[in-house]
């Protein structure tokens, strides 16, 4: 995880269990090579905008996809989304919301803020892998960025 290498996925997730399950699913999907895991909204913004803990990181090298939990400590997910989508340097980065339920009001709110998609964190691990695979295929293969 040295900042020079191109990152496939930035995972923003504070719950360590959810993070472990997501990372495992992502690795099993064999699509994403590099995954960066940050633990709160503030760290996510620092990473993306190359400041604070990530001062000096090449801001032109952005993750291909951000997987963003909405309920985050310090800076919440919607705020992260808002800032990422407001900055011309990052607004094209696909952001996929991680959510507990597909009927959250937060999903509507996040679509208003130009989230690209959402994925429900299911207890069913198979479905989770499937969903992440689909996302991976979609964003990282079908929709390859320059």
């Amino acid at each position: 995880m040295d900042g020079k290498q191109a990152v496939d996925i930035l995972l923003v997730e504070d719950n360590p269990n959810d993070a472990e399950l997501t990372l495992r699913a992502l690795k099993k999907s064999k699509i994403a090579n590099t995954i960066i895991h940050v633990h709160d909204g503030e760290e996510a913004l620092e990473y993306v905008f190359a400041r604070g803990r990530y001062e000096g990181r090449d801001i032109n090298s952005q993750p291909r996809l951000m997987l963003l939990d909405l309920k985050l400590p310090k800076v919440d997910g919607l705020q992260v989304l808002k800032e990422v989508k407001a900055d011309p340097r990052t607004r094209l980065m696909p952001v996929v919301i991680l959510t507990t339920s597909k009927e959250e009001n937060d999903i509507l709110r996040s679509y208003e803020l130009a989230a690209n998609s959402y994925i429900v964190k299911p207890v069913d691990f198979d479905k989770f892998i499937e969903a992440v695979k689909e996302l991976g295929l979609y964003w990282l293969l079908l929709n390859v960025m320059p």
């Binding site: 269990n17 507990t100 691990f125």
Partner: protein
């Protein structure tokens, strides 16, 4: 009152006068006249009675007459009288008067102008004692306002409680889901990574953990669904029920079921409703019908409707396992199951959701069935939308 019947033969004029007296007294009215050229004012005795003053009073002074009105009413009657006098505009007002005995009463006062060769020569009108009526009317208005205030109060309280409950179940379900994900996910990881270290019994036990987590997850999802339904307003539109049934059926039924189950759909009428919610109604009913016919060789599901005064009733009939009549009451209660979980999947919230949605649309639900002889579920939707949370 003139209680004594006239002893002598009265003239026509006397008779007319007596009748006027009687009518005025019975109807609590009085007449007046203002002669414009002479400024002379005449009252009938009814006016004296309403004003509560003796016949000795000389009304022949406009200001003195108007002086009986309550201070707030004086400018109103003065303006109306002047407009009538100058422009011939009639008036009809409800004002307050202070009687000679000091009693404050509501009266209705009406005035109009009479012209002669284009000039206003006379104003006339009547005064009615409407005190009882007006007080009753005001009391009704006050009671209504009081009632509305109380209803609004109560509604607000109930809405708050409802909202609290909804957000409570939301928070609970939400918070419970995170550890649940870990239980399911990590037991899966154990099953995958430590498969070789577990004997058959160990694997069975792990599967129980995993299945229980899945069940609990469905349960939480249903609680969330039930809690959320009805917290937002219905988004009403015209729904083609037949199209919706066909679409939902193909969404729910497996490919195998689509080719083997005999589905009959009559030309059921459209309805006005919330399409997202209505999809859940059909989804749950169709799912039930498919579930409970699953053991049959020849599976039949028919959907039809009846239109009666003010409502459509939609029926879904199957030839499945049915239910004991005693269970009819329990069917639509949340989390009641009539069959063992091992027999049929599901946690028993589907029909509760159907009931809640139909009731939000102002309709009712019901079911008929016998054990082993299929079931008929029905729900009604009013033709004219009813809002159950509307005003009085």
């Amino acid at each position: 009152m003139n209680d004594t019947f006239p002893a002598h033969d009265e003239t026509e004029l006397e008779k007319a006068h007596r009748l006027l007296e009687e009518v005025e007294e019975l109807s609590r009215t009085g007449g007046w006249e203002y002669d414009v050229p002479t400024r002379h004012i005449t009252w009938t005795s009814g006016v004296y009675r309403i004003y509560g003053i003796s016949q000795d009073f000389d009304p022949d002074n406009l200001e003195r007459c108007i002086g009986f009105y309550e201070p707030e009413s004086i400018p109103i009657i003065t303006e109306a009288f002047n407009k009538c006098l100058q422009h011939g505009e009639p008036y009809d007002l409800e004002l307050r008067l202070i009687r000679g005995d000091g009693r404050n009463i509501w009266i209705r006062t009406v005035g109009r102008a009479t012209r002669k060769s284009g000039n206003i020569v006379r104003l006339s009108g009547d005064i009615m004692d409407i005190d009882d009526l007006k007080r009753a009317q005001l009391e009704t208005v006050r009671l209504n306002a009081e009632l509305e205030r109380r209803v609004a109060d109560r509604t607000e309280k109930l809405e708050r409680v409802n909202k609290d409950l909804a957000s409570f179940s939301h928070a609970i379900s939400h918070d419970l889901k995170a550890p649940l994900r870990a239980i399911a996910g990590f037991s899966r990881m154990v099953a995958e990574d430590y498969h070789d270290l577990l004997d058959a019994e160990g694997q069975r036990m792990l599967a129980v953990v995993s299945d229980s987590a899945t069940t609990l997850d469905s349960l939480l999802t249903e609680i969330l669904n039930l809690a959320r339904t009805g917290t937002t307003n219905l988004d009403r539109a015209n729904i083609s029920m037949k199209e919706m049934v066909i679409a939902m059926y193909h969404e729910i039924a497996s490919i195998d079921e689509v080719s083997t189950v005999h589905l009959e759909i009559s030309d059921i009428p459209d309805c006005v409703g919330d399409s997202v919610l209505m999809r859940k109604v059909w989804g749950n009913l169709l799912d039930n019908a498919l579930k409970f016919t699953s053991g049959r060789d020849l599976r039949t599901i028919s959907i039809y409707a009846q239109t009666s005064v003010g409502r459509n009733t939609y029926f879904i009939k199957d030839n499945g396992t049915g239910f004991k009549e005693d269970f009819k009451e329990k069917l639509f209660l949340p989390f009641q199951r009539l069959h063992a979980r091992s027999e049929y999947k599901g946690i028993g919230a589907g029909l509760a959701l159907v009931k809640k949605i139909v009731e939000l649309h102002g309709g009712t639900v019901g079911a008929d069935g016998k054990a082993g002889q299929g079931a008929i579920f029905w729900f009604t939707i009013p033709l004219a939308p009813i809002t159950i949370d509307g005003g009085l």
